[in-house]
C-alpha cells in the first residue's frame, strides 16, 4: 500500500468527490486563490474552477448557513472552516439550523453537508485559536462528528461523510496533516460509529480519537515495556460513539484510561466515561481515568502550552492509579 500524508488523504477525498459528483462543491475562506490556510485545496480552483471551489467572505454564519440552504436544495456542499475555533461565530447555524432543520420539518429536509475544520492546540495560537469545539458539536443530535487519526481513516471517513445525507463535522487535528500512513489503493469507505482497535491487549483499555491516538500508542509502548498489555481503541468518530467496542474491551480488561487532547473538563470523554461506567461497572477493577488538557484557557508561551497539553506520561500516570506497575 502506498504511504501518503494525512493532508494528501483529505485532498484526495475532496478531489474524488468533486470529480465524481457534480452536486459536490467546496466553499470556505481562502480555499481558492490562496489554496487553503493548510493547503488542502491547493490548485483546486485552477483545476475545477470557481463554481466548484468557492472563496467566501469572512462570514462563517452566512456561508455555513448557505451550505445548509444549498444542501436542502439538492447540492452536497463541503464547507471548510479555517479553524474549528471560528465555528463559534456560526454556532447558531450549525447547532440550531443544520442539526435541527430535518426534525423541525418532520423529515422533509435533508442536509448532506460536511463541515471540515482543523482543530486542536499546540502551536501557540493562544486562547481563541486553539479550541476543540467538536467536543460540543458531537453532543448535538442530528449531526455526526468524525475525528480521524491517520491518512487511511481520514480518506475512508471523508468518503462516508461526503456521501452521508446528514450534516457531518469533520475535525482534523492540525498536528496530523504532515503525518504519513498507508492507504489502500482499492476503493473503500469507513462507516461512522465504528471504532478501530489500534492495538489489542488484555490488561488496560486506552480510548481516544484523532491526535490522541498517537499519544496512546506511545503510552502503550511505554507500558508494554513494564509488562502492561494495553488495548488501544481509536473511536474514529465521537458521534456516533462505538460503545459496543469500548464496553467489550473494558469488560475484558476491567480498567480504562480515556484521553481527550481537548480540555479534560467538558471533553468528549466526560460523556463516554459516564456512559461506560454505567454499562460496565460490574467489570471495573478501578475507576475509569480521564486524561486531557488542563482546565485553563490556552496560553501563548510554549512551555505553558506544552504543560497544559496531555502527554503519554500523563496517560501512564493515570493508568498507574488503576493498575499497579
Amino acid at each position: 500500500m502506498p504511504e501518503i500524508t494525512f493532508r494528501e488523504a483529505i485532498t484526495q477525498g475532496l478531489a474524488e468527490a468533486i470529480e465524481s459528483d457534480d452536486s459536490v462543491f467546496i466553499m470556505g475562506e481562502d480555499i481558492g486563490e490562496y489554496g487553503g490556510a493548510y493547503s488542502i485545496t491547493k490548485g483546486f480552483i485552477e483545476k475545477y474552477g470557481d463554481k466548484r471551489i468557492k472563496d467566501t467572505p469572512i462570514s462563517e454564519a452566512a456561508f455555513v448557513g448557505a451550505g445548509i440552504g444549498a444542501a436542502s436544495a439538492g447540492l452536497r456542499p463541503i464547507v471548510e472552516l479555517m479553524s474549528i475555533s471560528f465555528s463559534l461565530v456560526a454556532f447558531d447555524q450549525i447547532v440550531n439550523m443544520a442539526a435541527n432543520i430535518r426534525y423541525m420539518s418532520g423529515g422533509q429536509i435533508k442536509v448532506p453537508m460536511v463541515i471540515r475544520a482543523p482543530t486542536g492546540a499546540g502551536v501557540q495560537l493562544g486562547a481563541t485559536h486553539s479550541q476543540s469545539f467538536e467536543t460540543w458539536l458531537s453532543e448535538v443530535p442530528g449531526m455526526y462528528c468524525a475525528c480521524p487519526s491517520n491518512p487511511g481513516d481520514a480518506l475512508g471517513l471523508l468518503r462516508t461523510a461526503i456521501k452521508s445525507d446528514n450534516p457531518v463535522i469533520f475535525a482534523e487535528h492540525a498536528h496530523l496533516y504532515g503525518s504519513r500512513g498507508e492507504v489502500p489503493e482499492t476503493y473503500y469507505e469507513i462507516p461512522l460509529g465504528e471504532a478501530r482497535v489500534e492495538r489489542a491487549g488484555d490488561d488496560l483499555t486506552l480510548v481516544s480519537y484523532g491526535y490522541g491516538v498517537h499519544i496512546l500508542r506511545e503510552a502503550a509502548e511505554a507500558m508494554s515495556e513494564r509488562g502492561i498489555d494495553c488495548e488501544v481503541i481509536d473511536l474514529r468518530s465521537i458521534s456516533p460513539v462505538d460503545y459496543a467496542t469500548v464496553v467489550a474491551s473494558v469488560q475484558k480488561t476491567g480498567r480504562a484510561v480515556m484521553l481527550d487532547t481537548a480540555r479534560r473538563n467538558g471533553g468528549a470523554m466526560a460523556e463516554i466515561v459516564s456512559e461506560v461506567q454505567e454499562r460496565a461497572m460490574d467489570w471495573l477493577d478501578g475507576p475509569i481515568m480521564r486524561v486531557g488538557s488542563k482546565d485553563v484557557p490556552w496560553p501563548y508561551n510554549r512551555g505553558l502550552e506544552q504543560d497544559i497539553l496531555p502527554t503519554a506520561a500523563d496517560v501512564v500516570a493515570a493508568a498507574q492509579k488503576v493498575i499497579k506497575f
Binding site: G65, A66, I68, G69, R102, P112, N166
Partner: protein, 362 residues
C-alpha cells in the same frame, strides 16, 4: 462595471412611489388609483384579483381561529399572528411561480396560506398532530412544505437569511431561473446574519429577493429605537449595491406589482433585490403580548383604518369585479375551509411517542 449595465428595478417605472413614514398618509388612497385605466390592474385578471382576496380572508380567519384555539389550549408554544399584514404576504407570494422558493420566519402561517399550502395540514401542525406538515414536531414557528418549495418557518431571528442565500446559490449553480424569496422583519435587520447574507448575495450576485415586512416594531421595540434611521431603509443597501424597492404593504396590488417587477428582474438578471413593505400587525407580537404597552392605541387605530380586508374589497366592488353577494359566498367558503381544517386537526391523531426518535437523521 457589471451592475452599471443592470437595469434598475426602480427604473422599470411600475413601482409606485413608496409609502413611507411610520403613520399612513391622510392622503393615502389605499391603492385606489384613479389615473389607472378602467381595469383595476393591467396585469392581473379578475379571477386572480378575486382569488387574492379570498386568500387574504383565509389568512385572517385562520389567524383568528388559531387565537381561539390557543386560548383553548389546542395550539401551544409561541403563536405569532399575521393579522394586518395579509396584503403584503398575498401581494408578494401570489406573484411567484410554483418553481420558486420561499423561506420565512416564525410569523409564517400567512405566507404558507398565500403559497396555497393545504390549510388542513397547517392547522394540524398548529395542533401538533401527526397529520401536520411537520408531523407535529415543528409547530406554529416551523411550517414547512417542501413539495411547495416552502422551506420554513424559522424561529431564530435572522437565521433564515443565510439558508435562503444557499438555496439561491443552488439555483445559480444548477443554472435554473428559479427565484428565492426570503421574508423577515424590521427587527431582523439588527442581526449580523442580515449583513453577512446581503454581502454574500451581492458579491455572488444570487437570485434572491430579500423581502422585509416592516411592521414598524420588533416585538416591543419601535424600529426607531433600534435603528438610527428608523423606518427609512432607502439607504440601507448602499454597502451592497442592491436595489431597494419600497412599497405600501397595505396595498395588495402595489405589493403584487412591485414584487412582480422584482421577480422578473431577478429571473432575468440573477442579481438580488431588497423589497421593503411598510405594514402593521394589528395584534400583539405573539399571543402572549396584548400589544398595547409599547404603542399608542391611536397608532393601531390609524392602521386599522387601512385594513386591506376592508379597503381591497371596496376596490373590487368599485371596479365591478365583485358584488356583495360574491363576498358572502367567498366568506362562507372560507369559513367552511377553516372549519374543515379545525375538524381535520382535532380528529387527527397525536404522533406516537416512538415518533420522537424519527426524522433526526436521514
Amino acid at each position: 462595471m457589471e451592475q452599471a449595465e443592470k437595469p434598475r428595478i426602480s427604473a422599470t417605472g411600475i413601482v409606485r412611489p413608496a409609502f413611507t413614514g411610520s403613520a399612513p398618509q391622510a392622503s393615502s388612497n389605499n391603492g385606489f388609483d384613479p389615473t389607472r385605466s378602467q381595469s383595476l390592474s393591467e396585469s392581473i385578471d379578475n379571477s386572480e384579483l378575486l382569488r387574492m382576496y379570498r386568500l387574504m380572508l383565509l389568512i385572517r380567519r385562520f389567524e383568528e381561529t388559531c387565537g381561539q384555539h390557543y386560548s383553548l389550549g389546542h395550539v401551544r408554544g409561541f403563536l405569532h399572528l399575521y393579522v394586518g399584514q395579509e396584503a403584503t404576504g398575498i401581494g408578494a407570494i401570489t406573484a411567484l411561480e410554483p418553481r420558486d422558493y420561499i423561506v420565512t420566519h416564525y410569523r409564517d402561517h400567512g405566507h404558507a396560506i398565500a403559497r396555497g399550502i393545504d390549510t388542513n395540514r397547517i392547522m394540524a401542525e398548529m395542533f401538533g398532530k401527526r397529520t401536520g406538515l411537520s408531523k407535529g414536531k415543528g409547530g406554529s414557528m416551523h411550517i414547512f412544505d417542501v413539495a411547495k418549495r416552502f422551506m420554513g418557518g424559522h424561529a431564530i431571528v435572522g437565521a433564515q437569511l443565510p439558508l435562503a442565500a444557499g438555496i439561491a446559490l443552488a439555483q445559480q449553480y444548477m443554472n435554473t431561473d428559479v427565484v428565492t424569496m426570503v421574508f423577515f422583519g424590521d427587527g431582523a435587520t439588527n442581526q449580523g446574519t442580515f449583513h453577512e447574507t446581503l454581502n454574500l448575495a451581492s458579491v455572488w450576485q444570487l437570485p434572491v429577493i430579500f423581502f422585509m415586512e416592516n411592521n414598524l416594531y420588533g416585538m416591543g421595540s419601535a424600529v426607531g429605537r433600534v435603528r438610527h434611521r428608523g423606518s427609512d431603509f432607502s439607504d440601507a443597501m448602499g454597502a451592497y449595491d442592491i436595489d431597494v424597492v419600497s412599497v405600501d404593504g397595505m396595498d395588495v396590488l402595489a405589493v403584487r406589482e412591485a414584487t412582480q417587477a422584482a421577480i422578473d428582474n431577478v429571473r432575468a438578471h440573477g442579481s438580488p433585490i431588497f423589497i421593503e413593505a411598510k405594514t402593521f400587525r394589528f395584534v400583539g407580537h405573539s399571543f402572549a403580548d396584548p400589544g398595547d404597552q409599547y404603542r399608542e392605541r391611536s397608532e393601531v387605530d390609524l392602521w386599522r383604518r387601512r385594513d386591506p380586508l376592508s379597503t381591497y374589497p371596496k376596490q373590487l366592488i368599485e371596479y365591478g369585479i365583485a358584488t356583495e353577494s360574491d363576498f358572502e359566498k367567498l366568506s362562507a367558503s372560507v369559513d367552511d375551509e377553516i372549519a374543515a381544517a379545525v375538524e381535520f386537526a382535532i380528529n387527527s391523531p397525536d404522533p406516537d411517542l416512538s415518533e420522537a426518535f424519527d426524522d433526526i437523521y436521514a
